[in-house]
Symmetry: C2
Subunit: 121 residues, 2 copies
């Protein structure tokens, strides 16, 4: 099992961040991590926005977020603790993550106008 690698702050790129967050599952994971003070394990996200994600897929998503520099992951025993690197990134790209997270919340709020599914008649 290869060791976890995190890019240095100066190696984090805008393209990398945008690409990582252009996937809806990764964006949902990141938004939740960024809005939470404590770290979360990977398996907290086996269900993401009403969809279940296979373990292997989830593992790739976490790797993508980590290698883009968006999160920090630390193995703690059998599980992994993931937290957002938003404070560091704020230093390098001020306002970027806040604007993206905000845009996501505007978009999900707007969805109530045109719901994807109707559970109640």
């Amino acid at each position: 099992m290869r060791p976890l690698t995190h890019p240095a702050l100066e190696d984090i790129t805008v393209e990398g961040i945008l690409h990582a967050l252009s996937d809806p599952v990764r964006a949902a994971i990141y938004v939740q991590l960024a809005g939470s003070a404590c770290a979360h394990t990977c398996s907290n996200f086996l269900q993401v926005s009403d969809r279940s994600i296979p373990k292997s897929t989830l593992s790739q998503h976490f790797r993508a977020l980590r290698e883009a520099g968006l999160i920090r992951s630390e193995r703690q025993g059998v599980e992994m603790h993931n937290s957002s690197r938003c404070q560091e990134i704020e230093q390098r790209f001020p306002g970027l993550l806040a604007a993206i997270v905000n845009a996501h919340s505007i978009q999900s709020a707007g969805h109530s106008r045109a719901p994807q599914r109707m559970k109640t008649e």
Copy 2:
């Protein structure tokens, strides 16, 4: 030749925007369009950040930007006039594009510390 399609403002998604701008060529094109009052043709961009882009590739990039809702394209005779839709998008996702463009400029400014190529000995 199929007619040009532009998404309505409410159909523009954050994921779409981020994905479109996660490509360095498209990001460079968009930054230049957004920073310019007048429209630009596609072939203005056959050279982008010191790299030459084949016509067919360029055509796909413009299509990607258009379908993400980032630009508006209008055929004028034999050429195409492209302009940024940033004012509309600002209404839907305030601050998003400004933050991304700003982050890009920070990143390119930082590159002078570690140049990709050495032209002078």
